[in-house]
């Protein structure tokens, strides 16, 4: 017996809780949202009393598509999970597959992966800053920030051939070298961004109208961030020193100095509001510049891939058996890819993606608590949501979408565990223990 919660019942229940409230739906199509997600706010005057968040409009079935393709095709599919984190998903999946297939990656490739990843962080944070300014009605800043974002895209194009979707990582290394003759141009761009940092601080952190709109707005305390498993800048702005690059270093990060940054690193008290999220992203742009500079200095010579020939790589992957988990600190937070390979199969048996926005959905609830309608766009934007990347499940039954609540999900997972357990006892487990 599956209990269905009808939306009407829920509305009635909430109306009873707040009789003077009126319901304001935001989304799935609304100018404040760049992607489809539905917020239902119960508003009293201008204050938000309750919020219900319903994702599920953007599901594309990418994981399913992945299990119908060979692993190299899956890599390019992973790149297209997100247009902004277009290096983060490939970086996570290559780690997962390399772990599963036992591939060693040459050190130079590790450094190149870091360089491209950090360049992406710069462009992603600048893009976010522009969007945030637009949500505040400050279009001048939007146009300014997006203009100064162009050079980093030009550099990415120079290094990889593409502004977005770089197609650089491959299992076992990278597809293109960063030759020394490209260093000067890259260093010029880094110098350019260094020179802009003061401007950013002035425009974003010292502007009275931005401060008025972001200070004390959308507060997420560090306890809430911790218990709701916030990731990325959202968690760090609440004072949690949590960063995959620091906690579980991968690629070249163990050799580099990476530290999770919180507003304290700028000498500010941590308040966990939208302003702090701007501070953290600004600090991370500076950190990324430093990391790339360090990479350019320390990058060793040598091979860039363990498998120069794609056919050999495919053959190796086809033989591989096992599972792997890849984690990468994307600009928005931790992205996790899980993959399971079976010998003789070109396609992965299982491919599971967890985008950072998924972890940052729940923190929205405390952030929206008792805020005003005017704060909705900036609070929603403050976690840098990427809905498309996050959507994993959509259940549609007889043309009607339905919501599964915690109890139902628990019941389903118990049932699945039982099913798997009975299968395991019948035959010898093919997995590697645990």
């Amino acid at each position: 017996m599956r209990e269905k919660v009808k939306p009407e019942e829920k509305t009635e229940e909430l109306t009873k809780a707040c009789p003077t409230c009126f319901e304001v739906p935001i989304g799935p199509i609304h100018p404040a949202l760049k992607e489809g997600i539905r917020f239902t706010f119960w508003i009293e005057g201008e204050r938000i009393r309750k919020v219900d968040i319903r994702p599920g409009f953007m599901h594309r079935g990418i994981e399913f598509m992945g299990t119908k393709r060979n692993l190299i095709q899956v890599l390019y599919l992973a790149e297209r999970i997100c247009g902004i984190c277009s290096i983060s998903h490939p970086l996570a999946i290559v780690q997962a597959v390399e772990q599963a297939a036992g591939i060693e990656v040459p050190p130079r490739a590790q450094y190149i992966r870091v360089i491209i990843g950090e360049l992406e962080r710069i462009h992603s944070h600048l893009l976010w800053a522009g969007v945030a300014a637009h949500e505040l009605g400050f279009d001048t800043l939007l146009h300014y920030v997006w203009k100064v974002r162009e050079p980093v895209l030009d550099i990415l194009e120079d290094l990889t051939g593409n502004r977005i979707d770089y197609a650089i990582p491959i299992y076992g290394g990278v597809r293109r070298d960063v030759p020394p003759e490209k260093y000067p141009k890259l260093k010029d761009a880094l110098r350019y961004y260094r020179s802009l940092v003061d401007d950013f601080v002035n425009f974003f952190l010292r502007d009275p109208s931005i401060e008025a709109r972001t200070r004390g707005v959308g507060v997420l305390t560090s306890e809430e961030a911790d218990s709701l498993c916030a990731v990325g800048p959202t968690a760090r702005a609440s004072g949690l020193r949590k960063d995959v690059r620091q906690d579980w270093p991968y690629f070249a990060y163990p050799d580099l100095e990476v530290k999770a940054l919180t507003p304290e690193d700028m000498g500010l008290e941590v308040r966990g509001d939208v302003y702090d999220r701007i501070v953290v992203r600004l600090l991370e742009v500076v950190q990324s510049i430093e990391l790339i500079e360090q990479c350019l200095e320390e990058m060793p010579e040598g091979e860039i891939t363990a498998f120069p020939k794609v056919a050999a790589l495919l053959a190796h992957l086809k033989k591989a058996e096992g599972e792997g988990v890849g984690r990468h600190e994307a600009p928005r937070g931790e992205v996790i890819h899980y993959i399971r390979l079976e010998a003789g199969e070109e396609a992965p048996a299982v491919w599971k993606v967890k985008a950072p926005t998924y972890s940052n959905l729940m923190p929205w609830y405390p952030m929206f608590r008792d805020q005003e309608i005017a704060d909705i766009p900036i609070v929603a934007a403050s976690i840098d949501p990427c809905i498309c990347c996050m959507e994993r499940v959509q259940i549609v039954c007889d043309g009607k979408a339905e919501t599964l609540l915690k109890d139902e999900l628990l019941r389903l997972s118990w049932a699945k565990t039982e099913r798997v357990a009975s299968r395991v006892t019948r035959q010898v487990s093919p997995g590697r223990g645990g």
């Binding site: 009126f22 319901e23 304001v24 739906p25 609304h30 100018p31 404040a32 508003i43 201008e46 300014a133 637009h134 949500e135 505040l136 009605g137 400050f138 279009d139 001048t140 800043l141 146009h143 300014y144 203009k147 502007d207 109208s209 931005i210 008025a212 709109r213 005003e372 309608i373 005017a374 704060d375 909705i376 766009p377």
Partner: protein
């Protein structure tokens, strides 16, 4: 005969006002774009926008109150246009001179905003309702400093024995700056700043565009409007921009070029009108274009606090200084 004359004048002012209004709207958009580092639309873009809107379907939502929903844009447009006829242009007296004064003009300026709020409440969308509430709250906060500025000037003129002091023609013909002492001069400056601060809110422009607030409430008041109705609101906004700027000019910078340069007759009047248009443009550029480029949108409580405290206090201080000035100067 004079009735016919007034009709011709009215038609001339309305057509001229429309042309200048569209031109300034285009300039506003172009200059704002240049200030933001964009290329911006061509100058004729506002005209094209209105033509497009006039060709579009006029949709009345099922949840709306149809007659109120349809009446609001007409009311806004008609009052804005009427207000234009009460405006002294250069050295010319207003077309409807003698049929209403500054107080009437202030009311005419309030009606388009009220009409927008009514339309918003009548359109049956939660976004529009929120927008309408915000419009009303904002009006309540900025009307007080606006009224103080207008009344302060008229009162000081009356104490100087110049009348009828509430007539805009009188105010425009007798610039106060030269008639008051130093205290009054500072007082006038305060009132001028207060009036300039009110201007972007009157026109619902950033940072005071909260009734529309595209990213928050998707256009707010206008969210359900389309076609001819939306075009009328757009036109009302175009004309209202001129009226507000014209009011600022008439109250505080009514100087002409013809008298100091010694040009008389038609040539002098034309020169004054051109100079008036330049002054209008100055007010629109500095009080609307630059401000909307330089700030983020405020929240409704911040707007109210801004107008009820600093702006009202500034205007009251200006009025007080004018009173003191009268005491010192002995009227």
């Amino acid at each position: 005969m004079s009735g016919l004359n007034a009709l011709w004048q009215a038609i001339l002012v309305l057509v001229g006002g429309g042309v200048v209004g569209f031109l300034y709207k285009g300039l506003d958009r172009k200059l704002a774009a240049r200030l933001q580092g964009r290329i911006g639309p061509p100058l004729r873009q506002p005209v094209l926008d209105v033509i497009k809107l006039l060709l579009k379907e006029n949709i009345v939502p099922r949840t709306a109150i149809p007659w109120l929903f349809q009446a609001a844009p007409f009311l806004a447009f008609i009052t804005a246009v009427t207000a234009l006829l009460y405006l002294p242009i250069g050295s010319l007296a207003p077309v409807l001179h003698g049929y209403g004064d500054l107080v009437l003009l202030l009311y005419l300026l309030a009606i388009p905003a009220l009409a927008m709020a009514m339309g918003g409440f009548a359109s049956g969308s939660p976004y529009a309702v929120v927008g309408a509430q915000r419009e009303i709250v904002m009006m309540m906060s900025y009307e007080f400093p606006l009224a103080i500025a207008a009344v302060g000037i008229a009162w000081r003129l009356a104490t100087l024995g110049i009348g009828p002091s509430f007539s805009l023609a009188t105010i425009a013909a007798n610039p106060l700056w030269g008639l008051v002492g130093p205290l009054g001069w500072i007082g006038l400056l305060f009132l001028f700043v207060a009036l300039l601060a009110v201007t972007p809110a009157e026109l619902s422009k950033i940072p005071f565009d909260i009734p529309e607030a595209e990213t928050e409430i998707a256009g707010g008041l206008f969210v359900e409007y389309s076609g001819v109705n939306l075009a009328l609101f757009y036109l009302a906004d175009v004309i209202k921009t001129l009226v507000i700027a014209g009011l600022v000019v008439a109250l505080f910078i009514p100087y002409g070029l013809a008298v100091p340069l010694g040009i008389t007759g038609v040539g002098g009047q034309v020169l004054d009108i051109l100079f008036f248009l330049v002054k209008l443009f100055g007010v629109v550029f500095f009080a609307v274009t630059v401000v909307r480029v330089a700030f983020a949108r405020l929240k409704v409580d911040q707007v109210v606090r801004l107008y009820l405290l600093p702006t009202t206090l500034l205007a009251l201080a200006g009025l007080l200084l004018l009173v003191l000035d009268k005491v010192v100067m002995g009227g």
